[in-house]
Symmetry: C2
Subunit: 187 residues, 2 copies
């Protein structure tokens, strides 16, 4: 692949996420597009709709990401709807919800969708199991303060970025994407 088709865009308005992603894929370009997010609880459908919309607006390969946080006490919800729960309830009340339900098990999943210039779509994901706890720590963002990965004594927000990256699902998902892209580029 050469020229325009070789360009790889990450659609995000979040500078921190873009900087983090660029550590794994230095060739990444940022595309700050406001994409329609369809309602649903299936991450692949949400991501697919975003990729198709982005593709109608930029030329090149494109990636988008979506994070799910599954509470066992909510049978897997809020899942991809976590952003609305965080916005409406905040970390403290979200944690209380799991604690009052006597089930604090949770799973964080990062999904990345990739569309190549011919319209082929692939999905990559990695997950991290943990416990929902009362908010602790001031690093990170989003629900990091209430998520304590299994086998660790700190929440994601109590860890340094290096500690977080060493276990987080973001690093593993981008690694899968990178291996796949390298195989494509060698073709």
């Amino acid at each position: 692949m050469r020229g325009e088709a070789r360009r790889l865009f990450f659609v995000t308005g979040n500078k921190n996420k873009f900087a983090e992603a660029r550590q794994f894929l230095p060739e990444l370009l940022q595309a700050n597009l406001d994409l329609i997010e369809i309602q649903g609880i299936d991450p692949k459908s949400i991501i697919r709709a975003k990729l198709l919309e982005a593709r109608s607006r930029i030329a090149g390969s494109i990636i988008v990401e979506d994070t799910s946080l599954e509470f066992q006490c909510l049978n897997g919800l809020p899942g991809p709807l976590i952003k609305w729960f965080l916005k409406k309830m905040g970390n403290k009340r979200l944690a209380e919800l799991a604690i009052k339900n006597n089930n604090t098990s949770a799973k964080a999943i990062l999904w990345i969708g990739y569309i190549d210039p011919k319209g082929g779509i692939r999905y990559f994901s990695a997950s991290l199991k943990g416990e929902i706890v009362s908010p602790k720590g001031h690093h990170g963002f989003g629900w990091d303060p209430i998520f304590r990965p299994l086998g660790h004594s700190k929440t994601l927000a109590e860890m340094t970025l290096a500690e977080k990256n060493s276990i987080s699902m973001r690093a593993r998902t981008f690694e899968k994407l990178r291996s796949c892209l390298q195989a494509d580029f060698r073709k």
Copy 2:
């Protein structure tokens, strides 16, 4: 208004909802379109996107509806996201969630959006306060078995359709829409 512009469509795939709506607006026509539902917790934004998409596909006036169920223990959620919660958790677990959180207060809200042939949009809504209780009754649909309206001893699913219609927010919302349409048609 005459001819095409006078036609009034209700976009829904649900025959029961359409039959119920037709009791209030006999001139209503059914449009069984599959509309994209954007993710969010603001009913007006969700409805607006549906109306604009429907308008690009049918000529005439159009209405769509969306129901929210707000749990006080979730600070108003799931709201318009209730359909996903019902699908994923079911009525029994949804009720347990409120009960374990020691706060079973809830509010059901029906929203109707109306777009006229010139693209003017209006919103109508009515709400019904109640308590979330363990599932009871076999009438109705959706979350009717776990919603007991304030001042009543039965859940919506324990009521006959006539009883339900006499208190439900659907009747009141359609009544508001009907008054508004009649005023328009007299112009």
